[in-house]
Structures are given as structure tokens and as C-alpha cells.
């Protein structure tokens, strides 16, 4: 009897060993899928950009000041698209960073529990609204308001796109800064109060400097999000690549150009088509650099409090 049980047990262990190994490898392959995605992105961008860089030199691409990819005479200087992106990002940053930081300070240092419980969900809702909705909002909600101040402003302009991109990245800035401020230990604040500081002095001179690495990292992440933002700028900022820093003009960003090529009837395999990958590659490199920078800032300058 015991022999039969032992034999059955052994057989079962043998079988379960197979399952064991199979599952281990199966889920390991799943984990590898994310690595393959990264390689896929890099491979696709590189492979398809090579035909482009055979015809246009890297220097001409990076420092050319005229972007005319779709109509003759063609010209592939990426600076106008880059300027468009920078214009949007700067405008959005100018609005979202101070407002986001201020509301983070308010939520973490001043607000009562009840106010926190109202404002935090609103920020979460703002963060969850799809970007195409923001694009629509910019086009039909913000632009008419801007036009009521100054009728000369064109329907597609960088300013209204900047404003909605600011609204989009604001929740991220606010909640990441809030986390950073909250992580500052209470004893530092108490030390400030014991020396007779007001609440504002404690916030601005003790808590914010102590949380600075987290705050800066959140700013960099927000910039990275704004750079990659697509639908709002495609809808609201227009489609004319231009070297300008005037937010009241129609411009085109890198992302908007990618959408224009992919959705238009551009011949597959033409140089205009391949320019999509050159611009996409540049976009990928910029956001990757920003993300790594944010990660490095957090790691290097983080103050460790026990």
C-alpha cells in the first residue's frame, strides 16, 4: 500500500516538475516581451530612417531651418518642427510648473483633509481625460476666448495648444510634487516652527528645498510628456512648420508631422515617408534622455530621511 502511494507521489512530483519548469519559462518569456518592445522600437526607427539619411545628411537634418517634406521643392531641416515642439513645451511649462507646484504646496502644507479629498480626485480626473478631448477643447473652447481678446489670432495657434498641454501635465506635476513634499519628515518642519517661522517660511525655505530633487524630477518628466503629446497639438496648433517663437502663430510639432504623414496618402517607401522615422527617432531620443535625466536626478540628489 505504502509502495503504491509512494510511487504515485513520485510520479506526481515528476509531472509537477514539468509544469514547474514550463511555467517558469512561460512567464519569463512574457517578461521578455517588454524588452523585445524596446528593441523593436529601436530597430524599426533605425532601419526605416537609414534610407532617409542616405539622401539627407545628418547635419542638414539637424541644423536645416526649412522643413518642406511633402511638397516640392523638398527640404528636410528639422529645426522648424523642433522649434514648434519647444514652443509648446515652454508655454505649457510656464503655466503648469508654477501652478502645479503651488497646488502641491497647498495640498501638502496648508489644505485640510477635506480639501485634499476634493482636489485630489479632480486632478486624477484631469489626468485621465483622453488627449483628443483636450485637442477638441483647445480648438473650440480656448481659441474662441483668445480670439475675443485679439481677432488677429489664427484658428490654429500655438498658444491654445500650450494651454491645454499645460492642463494635461499639471496633474502629473501636482501629484508628483505632492508626493515629494509629503516625504519630507515632520521633524524638519517642527524645527522651523520652533525657531518662530511662519507656515509659508517653513514651506518655502525648508520643505521645498528638502524635496527639490523630487520636484525637479517631476518637472523633467512633465517636459517629456509635453514633448511626446500628440493629439492636442495636432488638432489645435496647426500644420505649418515655422521657425518662430511667437505663440500666436500656427506651427507644427514633431508629433503633429508624424500624424500628418501616417494618415495622409504619402507613397510608402518615398523619402517623405521615411522622414517620419527620422523625426520619430529624434522624438524617441529626446524623451528617452529626459526620462533618464529625471531618473538620475532622483537617484543622485535624493535626500534620505529615516
Amino acid at each position: 500500500m505504502t509502495d503504491i502511494v509512494a510511487a504515485a507521489f513520485r510520479q506526481k512530483t515528476k509531472k509537477s516538475k514539468w509544469i514547474e519548469e514550463g511555467v517558469r519559462w512561460g512567464i519569463f518569456l512574457c517578461a521578455l516581451a517588454s524588452v523585445l518592445t524596446t528593441f523593436g522600437i529601436i530597430f524599426v526607427l533605425a532601419k526605416e530612417a537609414i534610407p532617409f539619411f542616405r539622401e539627407v545628411s545628418v547635419v542638414d537634418f539637424l541644423f536645416g531651418t526649412k522643413w518642406n517634406a511633402l511638397i516640392l521643392p523638398r527640404s528636410f531641416g528639422v529645426l522648424p518642427l523642433l522649434m514648434g515642439t519647444i514652443l509648446i513645451v515652454l508655454g505649457a511649462g510656464l503655466i503648469a510648473l508654477p501652478v502645479g507646484l503651488a497646488s502641491a504646496i497647498y495640498l501638502s502644507e496648508f489644505a485640510s483633509q477635506r480639501v485634499r479629498q476634493t482636489v485630489k480626485p479632480v486632478l486624477e480626473i484631469l489626468a485621465g481625460i483622453p488627449t483628443v478631448v483636450y485637442g477638441y477643447f483647445a480648438l473650440t473652447g480656448i481659441t474662441p476666448i483668445l480670439k475675443s481678446f485679439n481677432d488677429e489670432i489664427p484658428v490654429f495657434n500655438a498658444l491654445s495648444a500650450s494651454i491645454v498641454v499645460a492642463v494635461m501635465i499639471l496633474p502629473m506635476v501636482a501629484s508628483l510634487c505632492d508626493d515629494a513634499l509629503k516625504a519630507v519628515p515632520r521633524s524638519l518642519r517642527d524645527g522651523g516652527y520652533a525657531l518662530g517661522s511662519t507656515k509659508t517660511e517653513v514651506s518655502l525655505k525648508i520643505v521645498v528645498p528638502a524635496a527639490l530633487s523630487g520636484i525637479v524630477a517631476s518637472f523633467v518628466l512633465a517636459f517629456s510628456r509635453a514633448i511626446g503629446e500628440t493629439m492636442a497639438v495636432t488638432l489645435a496648433a496647426g500644420g505649418t512648420p515655422k521657425m518662430t517663437l511667437n505663440p500666436l502663430e500656427s506651427i507644427q510639432t514633431m508629433t503633429a508631422f508624424i500624424v500628418q504623414v501616417a494618415t495622409g496618402d504619402i507613397e510608402h517607401g518615398s523619402i517623405s515617408y521615411h522622414s517620419l522615422y527620422a523625426v520619430g527617432g529624434l522624438l524617441f531620443l529626446i524623451t528617452l534622455a529626459a526620462n533618464l535625466l529625471s531618473y538620475k536626478i532622483l537617484k543622485k540628489y535624493r535626500e534620505e530621511y529615516e
Binding site: V35, V119, P130, V133, V167
Partner: protein
Amino acid sequence: MSSSEHSSAPEFNSRLERRRAFSMIFKNCCAILSWLCIGVLGFLLVHIFSSGWEWISFDFIKNAPSRMPHKAGLFSALMGTIWIIVTTAAIAIPVGVSSALYLEEYAKKNRLNSFIEINISNLAGVPSIVYGILGLTLFVRFMKLGPSVLSGALTLSLLILPVIIIASREAIKAVPNSIRLSAFALGATRFQTVFHHVLPAAMPGIMTGVILALSRAIGETAPILMVGAVAYVSKAPHGIMDGFTALPIQIYNWAREAKVEFEGLAAGGIIVLLLALFMMNSVAILIRNKTQKAQS
């Protein structure tokens, strides 16, 4: 000594008043800026509902897109979105949860695994349009899947995988170690421990994360626009290899039209999209609250 204290007291008091005044002003400025967020959200919702509400009707849900605004509807877009999301869920949930299980329960601390971890957090920061480029090139053209539901779903799956993995890992981490130790003590293998005990215990947290990830996928426009907009589609898909249009694509197309009527249609589409998001988020919050109560 005492005379100098006397002379500094008024100066100290006047400075104190200034400091207190500044403190008040600063606090109120911060408060106003915070409440401004609520104002913006309110303005956005009022703006969309006021211009889109009159377009919401039964016909709007059941008609196909049309050049004529009064006959236009979003049936094909709605069905396309449902097809895409169900397919995305079928691909992304198993792969994402498995990756999280591997990283939390199986992975040893070595170079390869820490590379996988860093890689996942980096992928979470890649702009969605880059995934669109990947999907367009890899799935539509290279694998010859065409502008199909499958291509769109694969693209969106890659996009939300990092979100699902990160959320699932948090949920798995929160499972108390005593559960694992008890299972091992009773002679369970690792597979049995993980799949019979840890995974069910982490399920509510994983579900919450998955629903939030899927609700992000529903609203993503740029990637599926790049994958699917190659063809004009007015019919609902009947299989995963069919062409598709989706709610965000339809909204984008309407928002680009110059006519004012299409503006209203776009707002109507947005209302439907926001309602779908609202329902998904409510389910996520419901699950979260229920398990929080059960645990406490």
C-alpha cells in the same frame, strides 16, 4: 543690553506683521491656483456637454458615420472600440500579469532581471505616438496584418503593458509573505504557491490596475490613428482581421471638419467616450473599496 532689546521690539513686531501678511497672501495664492484646476475641469465639462448634449440620441448611437451631420452616428466607432479593447485585454492581461509574477515571485537578483525592470519603467515614458510608429511598421506592414483590429490591439497592448506590469507588481508585493510560507510549509511547489495562493490574493489589486490601464487604452488616439486610419471604414468589424474605426478616431475626424455641426458631433462622441471611461473607473473604485473593507 536691556536698552537694545527695547529698541528692537517694535522693529521685530513690524517685521512679524509683514511676515504674517506674506504668509497669508502666499497661502491664498496657492489655494486659488489649486481651485483653478477644478474651475478648468468644470469649464471643460460644461463646454463639451453644452455643445454635444443635443446630438446624443438613439440614432447617434446606431447610425454609421456620414458626410451629412444629421445622419451621422458612431455605431461603427463604438463597435470598433469594443473590439479593440476586448482584444487588447485578451493580449495584455495575461502577458502583463505573467511578467509581474515573474519579476516578483521568480526572478533572482541578476543583471538580466534588473535590466528588464529598468526597461519597463523606461517604456512607460515612451510617447504613445512612437508606439504608433512601431505598430504601423511592425504589425501593419512587416507582419502584413493590415490596418486591422488585431494590429490596433497589439499596438495598444504594448502601450499599456508597462502600466499593467507596474500595477500588478504593487498588488503582488502587498500579498503578505505568511501566505507564501504557509503554502510552502504544506509542500506546495512554487507554481502551486504562486498560482493557487498569491495570485488570487493579489487579484483585486491587479483588476484595479488592469481596468485603469484599459481605460487609458480606450482614449489613446495617436497609436490607433496611425495604425488604423489608413483605410476609411464605415462598417463595424466582424472579426479581428477586419478594418476598424474607433471612438477617438471618429472624434478626431469630426473635430477636424470645418462645419459647426461636426463640432457638435465631436462633442457628442466625447460625451460617449467620457461616459465609458467613467463607468470603467467606477468599477475600479468599487473593487478597491470592497477589498479595502474586506481586509480591514
